[in-house]
């Protein structure tokens, strides 16, 4: 993942509430087996309306999306984050996010920035004509009109974003701790082992015969 320290540029001044992942990327786009190319399907149903914000020349290619409450609710599909990333969005600003979506966003280098509704309203106004800056160093969203909205981020996630860290690699480095935990389970809750469970299973196995 590429490190992200700051996202600056035009923003889609949308503000819509309860935008679910079926709106971000409809299910028929989920048949892909790669992570790329989903920008084409992003907000397909919204884009069916000729006056939609995403095809408005003023905002073309904006790296920031401003949305309303509960952005990314619905399914766990990471395709929603891949679609946003593919259309060049690197930060989403909203009063709240679904838990699963914000996790997916982080893992794809998109900053989910939580701001109070009043700040969102103000930024929707500014973004009609001007740029917005999200800065991870100072943890603020700013505009050229002296607006300055501080936000919070989980410290670990912030570090992963800023340093472009691979989470799996970091966790694999904790192998000793994980093995120790597994040994404890084998001792205290031996029935948890899949090997024992599968001993009498009726499930056919493609991998282990």
């Amino acid at each position: 993942m590429h490190p992200v320290k700051q996202v600056s540029g035009r923003a889609y001044p949308w503000g819509a509430k309860n935008i679910d992942t079926d709106v971000i990327i409809p299910a028929h786009w989920l048949k892909t087996i790669t992570r790329s190319g989903l920008g084409k399907g992003a907000f397909e149903t919204v884009r069916a309306d000729p006056d939609n914000i995403f095809d408005d020349a003023r905002y073309a290619g904006s790296p920031i999306l401003i949305a309303g409450d509960n952005f990314g609710c619905g399914s766990s599909r990471e395709h929603a984050a891949w679609a946003l990333a593919d259309m060049g969005i690197a930060a989403v600003l909203a009063p709240s996010f679904s838990d699963i979506f914000s996790g997916n966003a982080f893992k794809n280098g998109i900053i989910p920035v939580v701001l109070p509704q009043a700040a969102i309203d103000r930024l929707v106004e500014v973004a009609q004509t001007d740029t917005v800056t999200v800065d991870l160093e100072t943890m603020t969203v700013t505009t050229r009109f002296q607006d300055r909205f501080p936000f919070e981020l989980d410290a670990f996630r912030r570090r992963c974003l800023m340093e472009g860290l691979d989470e799996i690699g970091l966790t694999l480095a904790r192998d000793t701790q994980i093995s120790k935990y597994e040994a404890g389970v084998n001792e205290h809750r031996p029935w948890m082992s899949g090997e024992r469970a599968h001993a009498s299973t009726s499930v056919e196995s493609a991998g282990r015969t």
Partner: protein
């Protein structure tokens, strides 16, 4: 020293803590991982690129469900029927090849054990109380019905779990949703969860893990509890828990992957320690009374748009929140509804009985209120059992014959019309009474209009051709229930 009373969630959390980092993030061990074709290809690809293995294939189980057509899977000569849609065929084939390459158990599409991943887990005894269980699918919350901390994850997390059998998580807040009293005649688990979501809102549980408590929940079967926990995510909560009890133990006992012999006794002893302690504190408590819950359904395009079947399409102007007013108007335009219309005057074109919310044997039995009646003219009605085992059981009980005689289609197990990824779709502009969990714009197909209902209400809609009160169909007097 008196120990601090803990909630079920806190007990599971502490039990699965591998380590807590200085910044507060926790590395949590994952006991069970379910995999399906749609959210896994990129995860396996990631492993391959980084030359990584699956840490615990024995704790992982794969089953195809989302893309699989619900038409017969083998032809008259016993040969597998090829899948017409090319992209679906590629995804399904990839699941088989990936699980084979990484040594993961895979349930074949034509196996009697195949089904929707959230029906299969509990049914096989893969889902156990006190475990952490994940799947790349948001309705993983369903497994919380058995007292498992179960939640949906994205594909990067699927890859993380495959490689490390852990996840990095922050602790959630806890919400108790308590439903007291006894449910009225004709009221089901689906009506309970729709009423809960109507009350807390689609984002009400955001940041929380819900624990469902109270007499109503205790008296539900595991099937009913699965319906409730399944839709936790529609109330914004990533997971929903129900404390394991004798009902849970009776359900699990003897299932293929459940503990046996001495393991079973040890497991039961442990599971009995799991329920929340008396005096345990929740960050928020919401109470509902069973007497306020009636057969319910949705009118709009968010699962929080709930109304009782005796109610009316609301007037957007009646909402205090201006944003909700705008959203409601948009919903009504999409749904093609006029404020003030009685819900029971709304005609339907499609009926879908299925999905991981309502496709278990009890749901099939509930839908059999259609017995002796006929699907209304112009209505297409599908019954899609959640797994091959549910299908077999229903057929043994003669339910398939009831449905077929009434004019329903009796199909092969899968996600079917719950989401528009396989051939079962609701055509644009048409209206569907659906037992699934999401009424989002386009969820059942582009332009499709969805009303979420219980299986009995769906069956009632099928035979009357309109949204109907199932209590009128079966008679309000329980004694006349089978008339």
């Amino acid at each position: 020293m008196a120990s601090i009373p803990l909630t079920l969630y806190e007990k599971i959390w502490v039990n699965h803590l591998v380590e807590q980092r200085d910044d507060g993030t926790c590395l949590i061990y994952i006991d069970r991982h379910l995999v399906h074709e749609v959210t896994s290809p990129q995860a396996f690809e990631g492993l391959r690129v980084a030359n990584r293995k699956v840490r615990r294939p024995d704790l992982t189980l794969a089953v195809p469900d989302h893309n699989l057509p619900t038409s017969p899977r083998v032809d008259a000569r016993g040969n597998e029927v090829p899948i017409a849609d090319r992209e679906s065929a590629v995804q399904l084939d990839l699941l088989r090849r990936n699980t084979s390459e990484f040594g993961i158990d895979y349930i074949h599409a034509s196996s009697v054990n195949q089904g929707i991943v959230h029906v299969v887990g509990p049914e096989q005894g893969f889902t156990l109380p006190g475990t952490t269980l994940v799947c790349g699918d948001s309705h993983t919350s369903a497994h919380g019905a058995l007292g498992a901390l179960a939640f949906g994850i994205g594909t990067s997390e699927v890859e993380h779990v495959l490689a490390t059998q852990t996840l990095l998580l922050g602790q959630s807040k806890t919400m108790e949703v308590r439903v007291d009293g006894a449910l009225g005649f004709g009221v089901s688990a689906k009506d309970v969860i729709l009423s809960i979501i109507g009350k807390i809102g689609a984002a009400g549980g955001s940041g929380y893990v819900i624990e469902y408590t109270g007499e109503v929940i205790r008296n539900l079967s595991i099937e009913g509890r699965l319906t409730i926990a399944n839709m936790s995510i529609e109330g914004g909560a990533r997971a929903g828990l129900i404390a394991p009890d004798q009902t849970t133990f009776d359900y699990i006992k003897g299932r293929p992957m459940a503990p046996k012999g001495a393991d079973w006794d040890a497991a039961i002893a442990f599971w009995k320690t799991l329920p929340s302690d008396a005096g345990a504190r929740y960050d928020r408590t919401v109470r509902l009374d069973a007497t306020d819950i009636a057969p319910a359904l949705t009118w709009g395009t968010s699962p929080e748009d709930v109304v009782q079947i005796t109610g009316f399409v609301p007037d957007p102007e009646s909402f205090a929140d201006p944003a909700k007013r705008v959203a409601a108007q948009k919903s009504l335009d999409y749904m093609g509804l006029t404020p003030g219309t009685a819900m029971q005057d709304i005609g339907v074109d499609y009926v879908f009985i299925g999905s991981c919310t309502n496709s278990r044997i009890e749901d099939m039995r509930a839908a059999a209120v259609a017995n002796g009646r006929s699907v209304a003219d112009g209505v297409r009605a599908l019954v899609v059992p959640g797994s091959g085992l549910v299908k077999r059981q229903a057929e043994a009980e003669g339910l398939d014959r009831i449905f077929i005689a009434a004019g329903f289609e009796w199909r092969e197990p899968g996600c079917s019309m719950c989401l528009a990824m396989n051939p079962d779709k609701v055509p644009p502009g048409l209206r569907c009474a659906s037992t699934s969990n999401r009424n989002f714009v386009g969820r059942q197909g582009p332009g499709a209009r969805t009303h979420l209902v219980s299986p009995a209400m769906a069956a009632a809609a099928a035979v009357t051709g309109r949204l109907s009160d199932v209590r009128d169909l079966i008679g309000r007097d329980p004694m006349g229930a089978t008339s």
